[in-house]
Subunit: 347 residues, 4 copies
């Protein structure tokens, strides 16, 4: 059995999500979020995060991220993020667009996690100098872009630096659920209790079709987001499409079940690959994404065998493997087996 590890956005949505969309299709509903579905989503998030929150639904992760930033920085500000972050590398110039020209500053740090000392150093440069972009916000990715995780203490180390300079903190949670189940903490602990002000709560990669939530813990940052969302063309008229997906995703802990499956498939995959001669784990996968290095012939063998994954985008031999809520166990085992077979014959 063949399987694709290309990304978690190649899978569709969970059955209960699709059922919820169908159910929400019945009857008339007021547009633009003035409906019961949307109100219910906000309530469910308040319960999930154990606090009062403002919620803005959008249909893409880019929108969630850049709208969040736009609520946090003036146009002459800078947003400090990791140099390998999705925000800096994979969102075109959407961050500049939505912030009216603020600048992303890439901070270094091992495993695609911001080094708090480097952050502190950067934040203190040229304060108040009109010639320099002024540090205005910090953004971290949880799960990171290389598949690692910030521990709660590591998040706090970042937000402490930010708070010392009164900078708000954004979390790009495109794979929020995968991080959460891996850390085994509560949603509150990984966010506002750790100093996060705004969260891009991703759902699309973990079992919905297209629904993301901007969850605002620091409510002073929420007042403009309704206007900003409309201005960006991201206010859906039939909001029930987004809201119904999110309700299903938050019901009966679908988010948890899906993430646990994806993570456990990755654990299986990683454990297997570790035992394959010639395979090097680049960064230990803590959630559902793994970067590892394989001999080029092994990569070619796997691709020829019908397995799909990204390669050729990084250093020689580096591949990225991502598991999803739908990844079949048999597919993972077959992949490992295929790699092992090749290794035993060739390495």
């Amino acid at each position: 059995m063949k399987v694709a590890f290309t990304s978690d956005n190649i899978a569709g949505a969970s059955d209960s999500v699709m059922a919820a969309i169908i159910a929400a299709n019945q009857g008339d509903t007021m547009p633009y979020g003035n409906d019961d579905y949307t109100a219910q989503v906000t309530s469910m998030f308040a319960e999930l995060f154990e606090c009062d929150v403002d919620v803005f639904l959008v249909s893409t992760g880019t929108a969630a991220n850049v709208l969040s930033l736009s609520a946090m920085t003036p146009p002459w500000g800078s947003v400090l993020c990791h140099s390998e972050s999705h925000l800096l590398n994979d969102e075109s110039s959407a961050p500049e667009f939505y912030t009216n020209g603020a600048r992303l500053i890439g901070i270094e740090g091992a495993d695609a996690k911001i080094d708090p000392i480097a952050l502190k150093h950067s934040i203190h440069q040229k304060l108040g100098d009109v010639h320099s972009c002024q540090p205005s916000a910090v953004s971290i990715s949880q799960v990171t872009e290389v598949g690692s995780l910030y521990s709660l203490g590591e998040i706090r180390a970042i937000t402490d630096v930010a708070k010392s300079m009164n900078l708000p903190v954004h979390m790009d949670g495109a794979r929020f659920a995968n991080a959460l189940v891996s850390l085994g903490c509560t949603p509150a602990e990984m966010t506002w209790k750790a100093g996060v002000d705004i969260l891009s709560f991703g759902a699309t990669k973990n079992g919905v079709m297209a629904a993301e939530a901007i969850v605002v813990f620091n409510k002073s940052l929420a007042k403009d987001l309704g206007f900003l969302r409309k201005r960006g063309g991201h206010l859906h008229s039939k909001m029930r499409l987004l809201a119904s997906q999110m309700i299903a995703y938050l019901t009966d802990e679908l988010w948890r079940i899906n993430a646990e499956h994806a993570n456990s498939m990755m654990a299986l995959l990683q454990d297997g690959l570790k035992t394959v001669p010639g395979v090097t784990i680049n960064t230990p996968a803590q959630a559902n994404m793994l970067f590892c290095t394989l001999p080029t012939p092994m990569i070619e063998h796997l691709l020829a065998g019908g397995y799909a994954f990204y390669t050729g985008r990084w250093a020689e031999g580096v591949i990225r493997l991502v598991t999803s809520f739908r990844t079949p166990k048999e597919g993972v085992e077959a992949f490992i087996e295929s790699a092992r077979n090749f290794a035993e014959k060739n390495v």
Copy 2:
């Protein structure tokens, strides 16, 4: 039986659209439009419009409109549209945002249709003068915001003026299908054959959940749209959600069937109201939207009776009625009956 005439965005989607979403949910699909569904959509549009087209799917009408504009004007340009247009009145400052600061210029004209002579006058002012926004594009709404239609000749009169100054023309087709079935012409005749360069092809208001297409006839205007869409955060990862809806909408002329129903319900409604004492038709409805004026007590009576529609936004007594692909005939008849009963007792 009670019914809402609030807007055509309060209805959900046609059954075949929902079935298509469910079907598209199966299996893995490459993201960001690199999939067979999206390719099929482009083919279907080429067939529908009888010409080669570039197609960009987005999930909101605002996005379709303002991305279209952003491909047509420099930041120091102006986009000429009707002073009552949706673009000028109901999109926040999204047009300015996406065009990097170009200006909308409202042109007058009866029935919310641009007067070509007023357009010509406006276009010729201060050409080449760096102190003035330079006319750069023209945008018309078909159906207009008051429920009227441009005839093919009227479209051509506008585009002739535009072409004489080398200005591209955009059509806001949020209710494209409703206009088309009313005019009884081909999609090609109402667009590129009449001089339209880019079309916002609306589907959301006529039976899909959230899918709009930017259809580019003048392909020189298409080259930047992929970048502009991503920059705006409007590139969906699971594009199949949008593409499957649009495929269903274009299959077996669902768009036509839905629009014909909505229009025929409006015809029934308008014909009935014309015979109700005290009711004045403001602008004859040519598609599925009607503005009329009722005695205030009659409005209160209808609202109290459970009928829904917008009022209080315009002059005293003005109400807007919109029918959709789902509007029940019984509901229309009951509404007329209720108005008539009130009139007979009170007017």
Copy 3:
């Protein structure tokens, strides 16, 4: 003797201004406004306006106007100004650029002065509606674009409406001194005492080469302007060039002397033209600018005679005449005489 009434920007600068530039050229001075000249300018403005002010020097009137707006409105806001205002008609899309896409809304009113009732009506529409640009600031021109003036009571009527909705008020004072000497009030009375929050204090048209001041009375609006000015490329390194001009302009009431000359020349011109058969005064000139209507042959006669002024930009026969601090009395008299001679022979 022939003379040009084209604009008050065709004259150069007063001698004392040029002398001040020369004097300021001596020695080394710290850049970017960190110099004694700039500090002195702020002190002089505080004295002139009898209150604490923040001052930002720039070299063009466009910069002063649009930077002022940028401190007052969010990108989804609207700035209400007269439909004939310079801001709306002669600044390209600089207002949209600097405000990151806010919209100018033209309000009607006689003599190019905003009608407070029309303003109030406009301000109250669609408040809080994310689909509509939200009224965010008001801007008035004093002198107006047709040469009229707001009385102190008329200014207060505008600012009262604005304040009732918590909107800040900007005054485009490109011809501030001309207005002031005409009204015979104090600078404080015409600005902050009348409810003005930010003033574009023009000097370029009244005897300096290139220096304008953004004078901020409502200091909460000043905090971002240093960053906004730099971001716009309007922070001069050799600020002494601007500051020395402004010091000379504020010294020994040069601004008053220059404005009184310009205004008295206009009074002479207007009084003379009133007695010329065939000449119609369109709007009575209250400062140094006059719109009047002449028979076309008379216009041709004057132009052929070497007099310069703008015509052909407005209705048939309308001309604009502007006097400056340098306009010679003999030139004014000769112009009237030439018009009269022509009228007596031809009208």
Copy 4:
């Protein structure tokens, strides 16, 4: 005698420049560059550069730089410049503002000069990928920000890489004259003959008050600049102020005389400091700017002695020294002497 080496923007302007401003102040002149002075400037640049050019005068270097960029890149593009460039470090977010959100990408290279191999590597990444900012233009500084120079061959190596990908090249010539006299080549050789498309021709730092020219060699890039300049608020009404300065600067090779003085003073300074024990030259000065490292007590001694220069902005002990057209030889000698005296007693 004490002297300041803080920057070349602390000096005023040459006497002939001031005299030219005074002379230009006579009489009436049409505004906005529609005058003989401005026409003469364009002619003089055509002669200086031995080719047809379009010229846009502005009053700040920031404006010259960012307006140049705005003519070269779409909003989703990136401008490749050195990571230590002024553009990236000292212009706030003006580059993002004027380019509507394009991104600056810092490229490494010794002596603040872009490494062409690193440039080539960066340019070829993710071409056509809508998720990534697309390389759109290259900008180099001549003189660089550490006082080094690109040789003609080094410029060509950069522009060759750029041209191979059809990217236009901008030169930030804030200290253009200083570079030119040091290389001993013609203006044409250092610009369009070496592949430069647009030049920020700096004059402010080398003897004028406030005048910079955007000189466009690749005229296809010039068509929008008039609109862009106005939109930015950088079109002066009394353009004669800028034009007269530039005419004086270009007359009788004032630019050369001033630059030769500044450079020779730097040569004297550098030669002297090389012989002072404890002083390290960081980057050999090739024009009029030098970075060197001194023992901290020596820095304190010099500052206490009344000498001015920037320190504390870089690594421990690093100071920046800049000479200007006005730097007195006696001041340079005294500075060296003071350093030497201290060194002999203390090091």
